[in-house]
């Protein structure tokens, strides 16, 4: 065994004992497997709200088992580790308790960035101290080749997750405009960077020098940043899901390095979860994943086009008109969108629903898959406002009902109700599944002003229909006024 040959590349002293790598005692292997299974059950629980909390507990137990097992196996430095866990745990716990539900998308993006950074740090630590991770090749004293690939990919995905999530966080949190930022020649730059990263990971096989490793890391940070910069606010549901997926693949890659089944199972679960959510979001917008990633679509507010919006006749209504119409109705379907989240109107909306129910009106909620800034965003906000989940319906379950509905009440949504998606082949949103609000007897449409158009920059014919009444005001104020008017 020629250790001298390795030491110039490796900054650490290594013991010959590393040959026993990969040998985890079988009880520990079993424990990791159990924790992996518990993670599967955690996700399985989410198939229904009734089983979901039990699922979450399974997840916690799984994590506890994984952590305790690792501590028993490598039980030194426990005090520092306990302090680190206490610091992180306290920050996480307090944040989770305090965060407003409307800020969930930002929080999730911030959490993703932490997973990404943790993956990068673990990969760097493994690179600096491969003996500890059991990835040294006893024959050469170098890092095992297969581990180099895994580490290279792990650090790259982790870094992309980190910088991408930081940008997503800044955009969602409003620290950075939601408008896409377009660099000239960005596709060429991105593809070039990606090719360089993959090339370097391959080269890392033959040369494990720090330069190669850290250049991979640095380039990955850069590409994560560049990938998300050109993506507009309204495409954030796809971005957040995609980064969710990446954080999983990063964990899986590190799981390969450590030969740890809990990490591999979790990584695969999270990776596929994010991928499926991205797919669902893309389908709900009738856009290909590639076109979302390519970016440039979906500035936050009325940016492009829409000049013709004010020329056509439309009807304006007051809170009293709306209250009157809804009290007379047999059924009202409420269609919430991102605007409801921005105006924090969910509580007022629930109050309105309660009053209407007292008047004998049937109230339902219709949720478009991409309403809001992350998958399921509207559902959480309505749940927060105590709207029972069995009054909340997905697009395909409720779309047939608009034709038999007296009032469709659109609050803070726009493009997801645009009939042009069904009829106008030239429209940028053509083919996107939409809620058929125009089929209701009356459409009440809350909007801040007639000037702005939705994120897609297209005018909505619903505004100008005979059976539409525009309620121009801040969503929360309008709903509050309607509540007063219903209650007299």
């Amino acid at each position: 065994m020629n250790y001298e040959h390795a030491t110039d590349a490796m900054p650490v002293g290594m013991a010959p004992a590393v040959a026993e790598h990969l040998s985890v005692p079988s009880w520990a292997g079993l424990a990791y497997l159990i924790s992996g299974v518990l993670f599967i059950l955690a996700l399985r629980g989410l198939s229904s709200p009734t089983s979901s909390r039990r699922g979450n507990r399974f997840g916690m137990i799984g994590m506890l088992i994984a952590v305790v097992t690792t501590l028993i196996l490598h039980g030194t430095g426990l005090i520092e580790i306990a302090i680190a866990i206490a610091i992180g745990g306290a920050i996480g716990f307090v944040t989770a308790k305090r965060i407003a539900m409307t800020d969930m998308p930002q929080l999730v993006a911030a959490f993703h960035s932490l997973v990404g950074m943790a993956a990068v740090l673990v990969a760097v630590a493994a690179y600096l101290n491969p003996a500890a991770f059991g990835i040294l090749d006893p024959a050469t004293g170098e890092i095992l080749r297969v581990s180099r690939i895994e580490m290279g990919l792990g650090v790259a995905i982790g870094a992309i997750t980190f910088s991408g999530s930081v940008i997503a966080f800044l955009k969602l949190n409003g620290n950075m405009g939601g408008k896409p930022i377009m660099l000239p020649g960005r596709h060429v730059i991105n593809i070039g960077l990606l090719a360089a990263i993959l090339g370097l990971v391959a080269y890392f096989l033959t040369d494990q020098s720090p330069t190669v490793f850290f250049v991979i890391t640095a380039l990955s940070f850069v590409i994560g940043f560049l990938l998300i910069i050109p993506i507009g606010g309204a495409d954030m549901p796809v971005v957040v899901s995609m980064l969710n997926s990446y954080s999983g693949w990063a964990a899986a890659a590190m799981g390969f390095t450590l030969h740890n089944s809990a990490m591999i199972i979790t990584g695969a679960l999270v990776g596929s979860s994010g991928a499926i959510l991205s797919y669902i979001m893309c389908k709900a917008m009738n856009r290909s994943f590639i076109s979302v990633i390519a970016g440039g679509f979906g500035g936050d507010t009325a940016s492009a086009g829409g000049g013709s919006a004010v020329d056509r006749p439309w009807k304006r209504g007051s809170a009293e008109d709306a209250a009157f119409l809804m009290k007379q109705a047999e059924q009202v379907i409420i269609v919430p969108g991102y605007g409801m989240a921005v105006a924090q109107a969910q509580h007022a909306l629930r109050e309105m629903g309660d009053l209407l129910k007292k008047e004998g009106v049937k109230v339902k909620y219709a949720i478009h898959p991409v309403a809001g800034r992350m998958p399921g965003h509207m559902n959480v906000l309505l749940a927060e406002a105590n709207v029972p989940y069995d009054e909340v319906f997905e697009l395909e379950d409720i779309n047939g009902e608009f034709a038999q509905t007296d009032v469709a009440f659109v609050i803070g949504a726009n493009d997801v109700t645009n009939p042009a998606a069904k009829t106008d082949k030239t429209s940028p949103i053509y083919g996107m599944p939409v809620l058929d609000v125009e089929k209701a007897k009356t459409v009440l449409f809350i909007k801040r002003s007639m000037g702005g158009v939705g994120y897609a920059g297209v005018d909505n014919d619903v505004f100008y229909m005979d059976n539409t009444m525009m309620l121009l005001a801040d969503a929360k104020k309008m709903v509050d006024d309607i509540v007063k008017a219903i209650a007299h």
Partner: protein, 95 residues
């Protein structure tokens, strides 16, 4: 474990993930993201190994920082999921 056994676990877990996630009700997609976030912090296993290992001080400190980050996520992710799930209620049965 050799590479092929690990790969087998990975591939099969991807299939499980596919079926399990498709069965998640769309209403719970936000909690799904929060909980997947929490469980992907199982990467803390790697961070703990780095923190506990002798040999490289840098590696140890990087590991400890990673432990902090992963713990934020674990505690924060599970707690916020719990908080959200507690809000989902069925209609109250009233007379």
């Amino acid at each position: 474990m050799d590479f092929i056994s690990i790969l087998s676990i990975f591939v099969l877990a991807c299939f499980i993930g596919f079926y399990v996630v498709w069965s998640v009700t769309p209403a719970l997609h936000t909690p799904l993201m929060a909980v997947t976030n929490a469980i992907s912090s199982v990467i803390i296993v790697g961070a703990l190994i780095a923190s506990a290992a002798p040999g490289s001080a840098t590696s140890k400190y990087l590991g400890l920082i990673a432990v902090v980050f992963a713990s934020v996520n674990i505690f924060g992710g599970f707690a916020v999921t719990e908080r959200m799930l507690a809000m989902y209620k069925k209609k109250e049965r009233k007379g």
